[in-house]
Amino acid sequence: MKPTPCKRPESKEWGKAKNVNVTVVMINQNETVAKVSAAIEAGNMPDAFDLGRDFMLQLAKNARIEPVDDLYKTIGDAHGGWLDSTNKGSNPKDFGGKLYGIPFGQSGNLLNRRDDVLSKAGYKDAPKTWAELLEQAKKANAPPKLFSMGFALSNVGDANVQNEVLRGYGGRIADDAGKKCTIDSPETREYMKWVTDAFAAGLFPPGATTWDGAGDNNAYQSGQAVFIANPGSVYLNILKADPELAKGSKYSALPGGPKLRTAPTGLNFRAISASSKVKDLAKDLLAFMSDDKYLSDYYGKAIYGPVLKNGMNAPIFKESVLHAGLLDLALNGTPANFPDTDNLALAEYNTNFLTPKMVQKVVVDKKSVEDAIKETQAACQAIYDKYK
């Protein structure tokens, strides 16, 4: 089989059993789109590979990956069934009537907080709303060494957590049909007041508007941030690098707003190339990689929540506070981008970081909230119009 980008080399064991030569290529998850895109353009696709939901939407639309509805059912039946959240995120309707990937893990942001700092400020419990978080942040803020809101406001994926705050205040990116942008709304104004007030109060660390993808991680790990939203990499890192910080940290679901509480879970899939000459073998490999024992070991070394009901029994979900949070996210989380319609236009909106850019227009460019909202509404609609 041709190179199979995947997380771990156990697929080699499967290859031995099947007498198939498996080439495993491990790539950074953030580079999947670039590498697979290049492979597609070069006509050199791997037989099977990991990918995120947005990319799967794109490849499914272009018929570059193989439908796997039957395999999805077979694997579900063999392993106690799929979790409800997995079924929601794998709805064939979203992909044009067929399912094109086998889910293997759920990821999402948890709120990491400095419990040691917040306890001293009188807050023992995690904030349940963004307003509560703001209140706690104001008390805990101690510049120039410690800033409360370690949330990126820059042009990086992490900054799209701002969409969840926007939705918490009742704002929406687009209407239910997924055609018309609805950024220009009273709810967006409420959200903008929350974020710009926090910025004006000096709660965001300097540099948050130009952070790269590691900006929030670095701020938290260097003891400069009280709250960050992170999928788990920080936890794994500080466990070894800074046990004291790890001991003083706690994890919870993202807070909600006055209108809604979202806890987005992103499904990660394994797909089979439409051009593969060994599709049946690839299906067999995907079934092998969905086995209970395989996934149990896998979750112990990764930062994903389960997708199958049997997967909940993996010991790591009892042993690690972070993984317990990921299990909770898998059980009680909301689909990515809920309640917005998760389509290609929204994916492009997110890739262009229009919500954090809307905030930047006010806090960096010193534009009025009204102008920022109107400009973002226009840019958003221009994107959605391309997909009509």
Partner: protein, 306 residues
């Protein structure tokens, strides 16, 4: 046979067309073919393909591609990011090239003098250029860090009790990127100018000095005219590189804050993230007229020099 043809050309005689024998022509074609194939495959084809897809709705993996005329260009020209990237690219290139030209000439003039430790200084001048770009820009990013960890803010806090948001404020982000880019790029200018200055005959300066010409006059009337060709070529080449430079902006600000440092190459990279290859190509292709003019001038100058 080839020798005689060459001799005739050198003698200024107009060589008749197709004067080579068939065997020589075939041999010549055979020798040139590998280079031609490489150029066609690695340069011409990708170039034409990029121009072609900028007029289509091609996305990654699309099996059906439609011709959309100027739609991609109309869309990107209307985006705020593109308009700001045009302005930022022009500002960055103009300011950087001016700084490199003035300071490059000044430093080269100093290093051309018989000063003590000249060889060491010449070596040190090359260091920024020898350093890998990503290391250089990450170092500058850390020095500009807005917290107490940044070298500049450490000094500012100690001396003035205040700190500056170098990379996160609209006013300071572009100047900060320009300073880092200047530091990384000026050695090329200095070394090129220095090499050209060393070819100027010392007698010219001696004669001018005897005639009472001041240092400025000697620089103005001897040095500058003697190296003007090098100045032009270096300026044009560096302008092309600077316009195309990606890592300086990407590593330091990612184009932010709020498009304050967004340039053409960074915008094109963001375009690729959306998998809409047609639009991403349109961003790159929109730079082509500028590059075509610059490349035309450079090639003409080089041919003249030959």
């Amino acid at each position: 046979m080839a020798q005689s043809t060459s001799s005739r050309s050198l003698a200024g005689l107009k060589a008749p067309r197709f004067s080579l024998g068939k065997t020589d022509a075939a041999l010549g074609m055979g020798l040139v073919a590998p280079v031609l194939i490489c150029l066609m495959t690695l340069v011409v084809y990708p170039f034409i393909f990029a121009v072609y897809i900028s007029f289509t709705d091609r996305t990654v993996g699309a099996q059906v591609v439609n011709f959309v005329g100027f739609d991609n260009f109309r869309y990107i020209f209307g985006t705020q990011g593109f308009q700001e990237s045009v302005r930022n690219t022009l500002v960055m290139v103009f300011v950087l090239q001016s700084m490199k030209l003035v300071l490059g000439l000044g430093i080269a003039s100093v290093l051309n003098q018989a000063i003590r430790g000249r060889t060491v200084f010449r070596g040190l001048t090359l260091l920024p250029w020898a350093m890998p770009a990503f290391v250089a820009y990450l170092l500058w990013k850390y020095m500009f860090d807005p917290t107490q960890a940044g070298a500049f803010n450490m000094i500012l806090i100690d001396v003035f009790g205040t700190q500056l948001d170098f990379l996160s404020s609209r006013e300071l982000a572009m100047p900060s990127v320009i300073i880092a880019s200047f530091w990384r790029g000026f050695p090329f200018w200095v070394i090129s100018f220095l090499a050209a200055m060393q070819n100027i005959s010392p007698e010219l300066y001696e004669a001018a000095a005897i005639d009472g010409a001041s240092a400025w006059k000697r620089f103005r009337h001897i040095t500058l005219p003697s190296i003007q060709h090098v100045i032009l070529v270096v300026t044009l080449l560096s302008t092309i590189w600077t316009t195309n430079s990606f890592e300086n902006v990407w590593l330091m600000t990612g184009g932010g804050p709020s498009n304050a440092t967004m340039t053409f190459p960074v915008l094109a990279y963001y375009g690729l993230q959306t998998l809409r290859l047609g639009e991403a190509s349109a961003v790159s292709v929109s730079m082509l007229p500028i590059f075509a003019i610059l490349a035309f001038v450079v090639v003409n100058l080089l041919l003249k020099e030959d």
